[in-house]
């Protein structure tokens, strides 16, 4: 799923400073799950904005709404009445959602309230781990299902760099595991270390031609 983090409040306050009435648009999918942009967070941010602006004597008027998937035009369309009634939209969805809402309501200024950070999965309660770089050329068959592109800080193939810390931790963060040590252990357990001993030529970065676009085969 897509993981995002809320932007610093000063940045948000600055973006919406010129607007009296703002719609805070949440998304009910990934950003809800990662505790960043669901109904609960929309409520908290709205309240925080009202408190901040109220203190300056510039009472903000907030409207709150959360749609199931903000990256779907049809679902965003449900917000039309609410969008019509405000001067700007503050979206708590991922970049895809923000762009969809901006496209559907072309005339309305749309601002991001969150930074979309990575694709990941929960590691435990309230902790998410990046584990996919959406590189377009999946390598997981060769690495025991652990992606070196994102689980390694440098995203390198062919094994660990020389900077691995004691106990198989990453050069840049002793709290994070070295992805290649994880790969080694997994493959060792499966008796498939041969896969790691193979040389892999430089990655093809042209697999996804930017801007990316995918056309499913029409049935």
């Amino acid at each position: 799923m897509i993981v995002a983090e809320r932007k610093p409040i000063e940045e948000i306050l600055q973006m919406i400073a010129p607007y009296k009435k703002v719609l805070l648009a949440g998304c009910g999918t990934c950003v809800t799950i990662c505790w960043t942009g669901g109904e609960k967070e929309v409520g908290i941010l709205a309240s925080q904005l009202r408190l901040a602006r109220g203190k300056e004597g510039d009472k903000a008027d907030t409207v709150e709404a959360t749609v199931e998937r903000q990256c779907e035009k049809e679902m965003v369309e449900e917000l039309r009445d609410k969008v019509d009634g405000v001067e700007a939209v503050l979206s708590l969805a991922c970049g895809a959602g923000i762009q969809t809402i901006a496209e559907v309501f072309e005339d309305k200024p749309v601002f991001p309230a969150v930074n979309t950070t990575f694709l990941g999965s929960p590691e435990g309660e309230g902790v998410w781990l990046e584990n996919c770089g959406a590189c377009g050329d999946c390598f997981l068959d060769r690495t025991g299902g652990i992606c070196p592109m994102v689980r390694c800080a440098k995203g390198i193939l062919n094994g660990p760099c020389g900077g691995t810390r004691k106990g198989g931790k990453c050069e840049i963060d002793p709290d994070k595991d070295c992805g290649w040590v994880l790969i080694y252990r997994r493959l060792e357990k499966q008796g498939r270390l041969d896969l790691m001993r193979k040389y892999y030529p430089p990655k093809n970065f042209r697999v996804v031609k930017r801007p990316g676009k995918m056309q499913a085969i029409k049935a």
Binding site: I9, K40, I44, S47, R50, L51, A52, K55
Partner: protein, 133 residues
């Protein structure tokens, strides 16, 4: 609202302690408004923020003593949420000290009074500071 103190009180501890205050004929400031909750862990960030938006001088979450929450983690989570609310307030230049979490047992009416009095004193002090400015 007009400068009230709102206290979300866990019914297993603080709410009962507040009752004991009354039963023993003890007192706390009249501006206290207790909202009964089943556990401090029920209190959410939005409840605290909304109370401040409405004009509360301070918002307290009062739960069981550490390690003695009927629901094990309720008071710990409450503390984390209060801390987060504090951050949210500080971020926008509002005194984070206006939210607070305290732990007490059902049989601790004096602690209950002490908490409320201290919070009330801080509110008064802040008012004085603001007046003199």
């Amino acid at each position: 609202m007009n400068g009230e103190i709102i206290a979300f009180c866990c019914e297993h501890s603080a709410y009962a302690a507040a009752d004991v205050v009354g039963k023993q004929g003890l007192h706390y400031p009249e501006k206290l408004r207790v909202i009964r909750v089943p556990c401090a862990g029920r209190v959410d960030i939005i409840h605290m923020l909304k109370a401040l938006e409405e004009g509360a001088a301070a918002v307290l979450v009062l739960g069981c003593e550490d390690g003695l929450c009927q629901h094990l983690t309720g008071n710990v989570r409450a503390k984390e949420r209060v801390k987060y609310s504090e951050t949210l307030l500080t971020e926008v230049g509002i005194d984070g000290g206006r939210v607070g979490m305290f732990n007490l047992a059902a049989n601790a009416p004096h602690k209950f009074i002490k908490i409320i009095n201290e919070v009330n004193d801080r509110i008064k002090e802040r008012e004085r500071e603001n007046d003199s400015r």
